[in-house]
Every structure is written in structure tokens, then in C-alpha cells.
Amino acid sequence: MGHPGSDLSSADILSVLYFAILRIDPRNPAAPDRDRFIMSKGHSSGSLYAALAAKGFFPLEELDTYMQPLSALNGHPDRNKVPGVEACTGSLGHGLPIGAGAALAARMDHASWLTYVLTGDGELQEGSNWEAAMAASHYGLDNLTVIVDRNRLQQGDGTEDAMRLEPLAEKWRAFGWAVAEVDGHCHAALIEVFRRLPLQSGKPNCIIARTQKGKGVSFMEDRVEWHHRVPSDQQLADALRELEAAL
């Protein structure tokens, strides 16, 4: 188990993307006209692998090999090992530049496929994101959407205590992006905003998804220590019981 708090804060976003939005075919994971989803916060590999397996990119049983020796399912995803993974991430601040490049390629080819990048919020402290934000706006990439998993916690502290991000929406707007803010755990709200893309013609899209780290597990919710921690057997059983009860 890697980063359970981060997995749970992004799980609803991934469910909506993989089962209602992305135009992808698990039988043809390299189709040139597929939508691209890049998990920039690579430490949320657990929720990404679960979504990919549930979608049929690989057998569900393979999830049992997560982070085991020689498993394809590294703690951080590898595009050359796992079908459906679009980028090698884990080092923060890589996903958005790669996504901007993908969106530029689609533009050059007059192709209609779309690019989505999910970033953490603490991750936005990496300057490379803002280099990419400038470029995506300069090139008017309205086929590019970044979703910020705004759970307000990073590894060591709250984001606003570690390195203030607010006013976050204004930052993105100042960089030339169209911004929407939604409840990142409300499927209907997420679907509604994804179906409205592009939010504004000629501008890249930023969706700030308000989330809770550890969502759905009472003793993990909003607790910074669950960013990266291995639960005990008892904690795991309790967590699964709570999550299943909520279904």
C-alpha cells in the first residue's frame, strides 16, 4: 500500500473520467485517436491501477502484485509496463508539460482527441507546471484540461502552511486559463463540467476539484499522516468496511 490518502482523494475523479468521459478502448490501448489521461500525481498509482483494471486494461487479479518484486505495477506508474498508462510519473511536475505536448500534437494533426492531466495541489509548487501553463495558454490549447486534486494537504503539512497556493483559481486565470471549481467527490458535478469542455474556446481548461484526502475512511479523512502510510491489517479491514458500506 503506497499513498492511500492521495488514492482516495482522486478516486471519484478517476471513476468519472474512466467510466463516463474518456474515449479509450482497453482492447486497443495505443489507438492513435484515443483521449490521453496523464496521472501527474504518480503516487496515486493505486487508484489509477484500480481504474485501469476495472476498465479492462489488465486483469483485476494483477492488482495483487502491486509493488511486489518484478511487478509491472510500480509504486509510480511506468508507461512502458502498464497498458493505459500514458506517462512515467512519480516525479512531480512532469504531467502537465507532457500533456501540453500531446495537445499540441493533436492540434498539428487537426485531431479531435483530448488530453486530461490530473495534478496534486501540492505538486503545483513545482515551477515546471507554470512553464507549461504559460505555454498551453500561449498556444490556445483548449483541447487540454488539467484537473487539480485540491485536497489541501501535501506530504508534510497543509498546502497553505507548506507553501501557499491560494488564490489558486486566480493564478490559473492570470495565466490565461478558463477555470471551473467543483466538488471533486460529486459525480454529477464532475460529469457536468467535463461535458462542458472547453469551458471557453481558445483557452486551456483548469478544473479545481475540491477533495478530501483519505475520502470515505473516517480515520484517514483530512489527515496529513495518511499521505504515505501503510495501514495495519485491522485498519485495512475497517477502511474496506466503511468504503463498502458507502456503495
Binding site: 492513435p32 508507461r79 512515467c88 511536475g93 500531446a102 499540441l104 500534437a105 512553464e131
Partner: protein, 323 residues
């Protein structure tokens, strides 16, 4: 007198020719348009040209994204920034991710000698050589530069192409065919092998001439592909000549000399001298002056070959001036 060429010219010509025949080829730059000599490319292929501004991390990420969507990006920027400023992106997005991106490190080595150590690129081979999956090519002259540009497109994976701007004479015979991964013997010899790449190849050839006048038979090997290295050619040279002098426009640490030493020390140990910039920030000055300062001249190479053949250890003065 052989004609001297700034290798950015054959680079740009080859890239434009390649773009004509291969629609996947695009150029990406961090605003290094004039200095990379890609003004013509931009004019001819406006919609296949991307300037990301002065932002090297994004430069590499954008290029990886373009490549993963089927393009073949040639990424043009000053080598010192292209490698050093974005090294972790090169490692992760290109090497680990195996993105089909061609990094073109322009004005490498001491080309920007007068601009100071910020602009000297004397670490780039050490940085790139250690990254798995990355092919590293250091062409020696105009013909090899043009051929390497074309060859890079045929390699399915990331390539670092180190392009010089110091005027360089042709070192290869007419009709020379570059093959990535293959070293080429430019002069046969039996007493010592001079292994060089880039602009140092012509100086090594001149040194071999000086050595011949002293009765010393020097083989000259152009190791233009540093990774993957032509191990057989180096081990043959070590076995046949019994002594090696490496010469590079780079730090003596981690580049050509390091690569050769790592190989021969474990497989066929022979006495060696490693010539390059001796682990210091080089002083400011015209490239040829800085090379002279560190005795990276035909005469300096000749003396190092005599020294290695004399069987004595590198003395203190020699070590200080070399490494």
C-alpha cells in the same frame, strides 16, 4: 587548406531535408532560434515549429508529449541549458519513458568560451551518458553531423546529438557512411591509439602526424557514438596498440575518457591518458585559446602519447594540467 565548417549549417540543412521527406519531424526550441540556426526551418515549416520560450523543463516535457503522440521532435537549444537545466526531465520523460525525442545540444563544449562557465557545456556527456536508453552522438565534422541528424530519426528512442559551432575541417574520407554505434578508424597505427570525438578528432589526426615524424605509429579512432559504445573497436585498439590517449572537449570526468577507461580497465587494462578539461571551471576566452590553455592541441596530444609510451606515471605537473 581544408575548408572549415560551423556544424550548425549542415545540421540545419539536414534537418530541413529530413522534414521534407518525413512529415513526423518537428522542431522544438527554448527560444534558441538563431543560435540553433533553425530560422529557415521555422519559415519553411511554420506549423511544425514550437517555441516554448525560455523554459527548459517544459521544453523536454512538451517534446515527450509530442513524441508520444507520434511526432519526432528535434529539440534545439544551447547544450549547457538543454542538458543541465532539464536533466531530470531527460532522465524520466525521455530515458525512462523511452520517448522518441532527439535532443540537439547546440554550441556545445567550449563554443561559448568568451561567455564564461555558465555557457560552457563541459559536463553534458557525463550527464547524458549515465541515462539508460539514451543514444549519445558527438559528430566530428560537417558530413558526420548531417548524417547523424538523419540517423537519429531512424533510432526508435531518445538521442542526444552534441553539435559544435567551432569551425571544423572534414576528417572523414569522401563517401564516409556514419553508422550509429560504430567507431571508425581514421588512421591505422600500432604503438598507441588516440580516441577522440567531436572537434578533437581533427586535432588527434594532426597529433598522429606529429607522432609519425617522431617514429611513433598512432592509430586514430573517432568514437562519435559514445552510447552505446563500440566496445569491440576499443578493445581491439587496446589489444593491438597497448596504450590509449583519449581527447575530448569536455571534463576529464565522466565523458569519453571515463567511458573508455571503464571498459578497458575491466577487460583489457592498458596505460591511458585522459585529456580534456581537468575538473575545473574553464577560464573565459576564445575557444581555441581555452583549448590551447589546457594543451588540447596537436602538440599537447602528441606529448601525452609520448608520456604514456614512456611507461612513467603521470607526473605531478602533467596531472595538474590534465586531471
Amino acid at each position: 587548406m581544408k575548408e572549415l565548417t560551423d556544424c550548425r549549417r549542415p545540421f540545419a540543412e539536414a534537418l530541413e531535408q529530413l522534414a521534407l521527406s518525413n512529415p513526423r519531424v518537428v522542431a522544438v526550441t527554448n527560444d534558441s532560434i538563431g543560435s540553433s540556426n533553425i530560422t529557415g526551418f521555422r519559415k519553411r515549416f511554420t506549423d511544425r515549429f514550437v517555441n516554448v520560450g525560455i523554459a527548459e523543463q517544459n521544453l523536454i516535457g512538451v517534446s515527450a508529449g509530442l513524441a508520444n503522440a507520434g511526432k519526432i521532435p528535434y529539440v534545439c537549444g544551447a547544450s549547457c541549458f538543454l542538458t543541465g537545466r532539464s536533466l531530470e526531465q531527460v532522465k524520466v520523460d525521455l530515458g525512462y519513458g523511452r520517448a522518441n525525442v532527439k535532443l540537439c545540444g547546440m554550441s556545445s563544449g567550449l563554443a561559448y568560451g568568451p561567455l564564461g562557465a555558465t555557457h560552457h557545456s563541459l559536463e553534458d556527456l557525463a550527464w547524458t551518458r549515465v541515462i539508460p536508453n539514451l543514444t549519445v552522438i558527438v559528430p566530428a565534422d560537417a558530413s558526420e553531423t548531417a548524417q547523424a541528424v538523419r540517423a537519429a530519426a531512424d533510432i526508435d528512442g531518445p538521442v542526444f546529438l552534441r553539435v559544435s559551432r567551432m569551425p571544423t575541417p572534414p576528417v572523414h574520407p569522401e563517401g564516409y557512411a556514419f553508422r550509429a554505434g560504430r567507431a571508425v578508424t581514421l588512421r591505422e597505427g600500432s604503438d598507441v591509439t588516440l580516441i577522440a570525438n567531436g572537434i578533437m578528432v581533427s586535432r588527434a589526426l594532426e597529433a598522429a602526424g606529429l607522432l609519425a615524424a617522431k617514429g611513433i605509429s598512432a592509430r586514430v579512432l573517432n568514437l562519435s557514438t559514445l552510447c552505446p559504445m563500440d566496445r569491440q573497436a576499443i578493445l581491439d585498439a587496446a589489444g593491438r596498440t597497448g596504450a590509449i590517449v583519449t581527447v575530448e572537449e569536455h571534463s576529464v570526468y565522466g565523458g569519453l575518457g571515463g567511458a573508455v577507461a571503464e571498459l578497458v580497465v575491466t577487460h583489457r587494462p592498458v596505460p591511458m591518458r585522459i585529456l580534456g578539461i581537468p575538473g575545473v571551471f574553464a577560464p573565459t576566452g576564445a575557444p581555441s585559446w581555452v583549448l590551447e590553455h589546457f594543451r588540447l592541441t596537436p602538440q599537447g596530444i602528441c606529448e601525452a602519447a609520448q608520456s604514456v609510451l614512456s611507461g612513467r606515471e603521470c607526473d605531478e605537473a602533467e596531472a595538474r594540467s590534465r586531471h
